[in-house]
Amino acid sequence: QTSAQPAAAPAGVQSQNIFEVKPEASAAPGYLSQSNGERNKVQPGNNAPMWRQVSGGVTGYSSLPASEAPEAGNLIQRFVQYPGSRFTNAGEAWRQVRNELLIPYGAALLFVTLLAALIFHFAHGPITLHSPETGRKIERFTPFERATHWSNAIAFVTLALSGIVMAFGKFFLLPWMGGALFGWLTYGLKNIHNFMGPLFVLTTVFMIVTFIRSNWPSAEDWRWFKKGGGLFGGTEPPSHRFNAGEKVVFWGGVLFLGSIVIGSGLYLDKLVPGVVYLRGNMQVAHMIHAAAALLMMALIMGHIYLGTLGMKGAFKAMRHGEVDETWAREHHKLWYDDIVAGKIPAQRSGAQPAARPPGVEGLST
């Protein structure tokens, strides 16, 4: 009957394990690829393989049902490297992307866009007409088109403002409003954002259907681009109903970025049926959403600037649906030519111009 204690064991260490194992376990072939069980056999208590699994994000067993807690078996999120993050556990990596990339650079982007618009506005001034207005109106947007645009615009602005508060509010609103008020505000905005999102999806679809024909690319677009749209000197190149710049807003902004924002947004909203919502996917969706949303906001900011202050007469077009012949000729020459040629009717909606109270026109000049 011997005791389990080898004489060599230092005081306090009473287990057989680490001192009894000879030769060194690390001498075994395939030492590094041992499973935790294999390792425990040659080196009891050395759980390195298991810890490697843990930090590798391996999902273990948890009795909680997968349907209720799909990630309960995961101890530490797996290691990843998101664009712009270090190689670290996914949560931390996402935090790095959001906090060190999206937030500061996003803020910068929006700020720079705003600044650019301001500089343009004050240095260059709004784009005005060169010839006097004729007083003859051409219907540029039907009431349906306008309704579509404005509902979309309202939805977008709501989303953008609420999104901005979520992303940046704590830097500029929180110190000013205090936690409780800011909490309530953001809580409200966040819920508005979450419900407005799906509405925006709907309006965006309408937008695309409504405007896709007129945004179909054509040869002139290239020429328009080469001349920078005439924005920085020179005459404005002729364009059809929408110029290439507007087409960029349409294709790049509404369609491309819009779809990305929408897709990722719907996922973040957990509205996509038949998928499992895992943290890893949410992180990716969020990064995509935030990045695309920021770009889109920057782009639309430019659009909004041009649609309001930037170009005389543009806002009226969207507000009342009509433009002056001069405006059409100067900004959308080819479109104007087609109307003159009778290829496109000057009035497309059922509403006759005569039916409109004359005063409105006068006011809006």
Partner: protein, 207 residues
């Protein structure tokens, strides 16, 4: 100043879920919200180990860093708490948390998750200590009563130890020396920025 920490000794944990129901019981945590859970790796094969996990009250807490409304705060004892009145239920903390600690009362269609809930180290929340409001929102404030977390106090094998990081590390270290194995501490590297229990955080990402 004490710095509260958890250690789960995987050489001891037997996946009995005592810690889990202790938490449910003490804090009246509803169905679906698991402030604490137990995970088994290598289930059913030699080398199997179980670990009980909840919020680790990280030194440089990712949850805190990403919260859009900054509703997290840290107590003098290093406990990471949050204010449910301010929380907007965006779920960001749960994306960021390495351990899956933040929980939400509902599944979150339209992002409707409800207010985030997580382990409080049994330290309640911003309301007055021991108040009815604190209990209803965050559960018991045992620390204020001079007690340690319910989960650790009731752990069936004393695998889960909670308390001042130095004390906890010492208990654990003594145990490791006693048995001569099983020195790794689960999650300390990630949570406190150090691989070894009790060592100062070194590689924590500070921002």
């Amino acid at each position: 100043m004490a710095r509260m920490k958890f250690v789960c000794d995987s050489e001891r944990c037997i996946e009995c879920n005592g810690c889990v129901t202790a938490c449910k019981n003490e804090n009246e945590v509803p169905w679906g919200v698991n402030r604490r859970r137990v995970v088994t790796l290598n289930d059913g094969v030699p080398g199997e180990k179980s670990i009980s996990v909840a919020c680790m009250h990280c030194s440089d807490a990712p949850c805190m860093a990403v919260c859009p409304v900054q509703c997290f705060y840290r107590t003098d004892e290093g406990v990471v708490l949050h204010d449910k009145d301010v929380c907007i239920g965006c779920g960001y903390c749960s994306y960021a948390c390495p351990f899956g600690a933040p929980q939400f009362p509902s599944q979150g269609t339209f992002g409707m998750r409800g207010k985030m809930d997580k382990c409080t180290f049994c330290a309640g929340g911003p309301e007055a200590n021991g108040s009815q409001a604190e209990f209803e929102k965050y559960g018991r404030n045992r620390l204020a009563e001079g007690k340690l977390p319910a989960c650790a106090e009731m752990c069936s094998t004393k695998a889960l130890i909670a308390g001042d990081g130095d004390v906890v590390a010492d208990i654990f270290r003594t145990r490791v020396v006693q048995r001569g194995k099983g020195a790794e501490v689960w999650g300390w590297g990630t949570a406190y920025g150090s691989k070894v229990a009790g060592e100062a955080p070194t590689n924590g990402v500070k921002k």
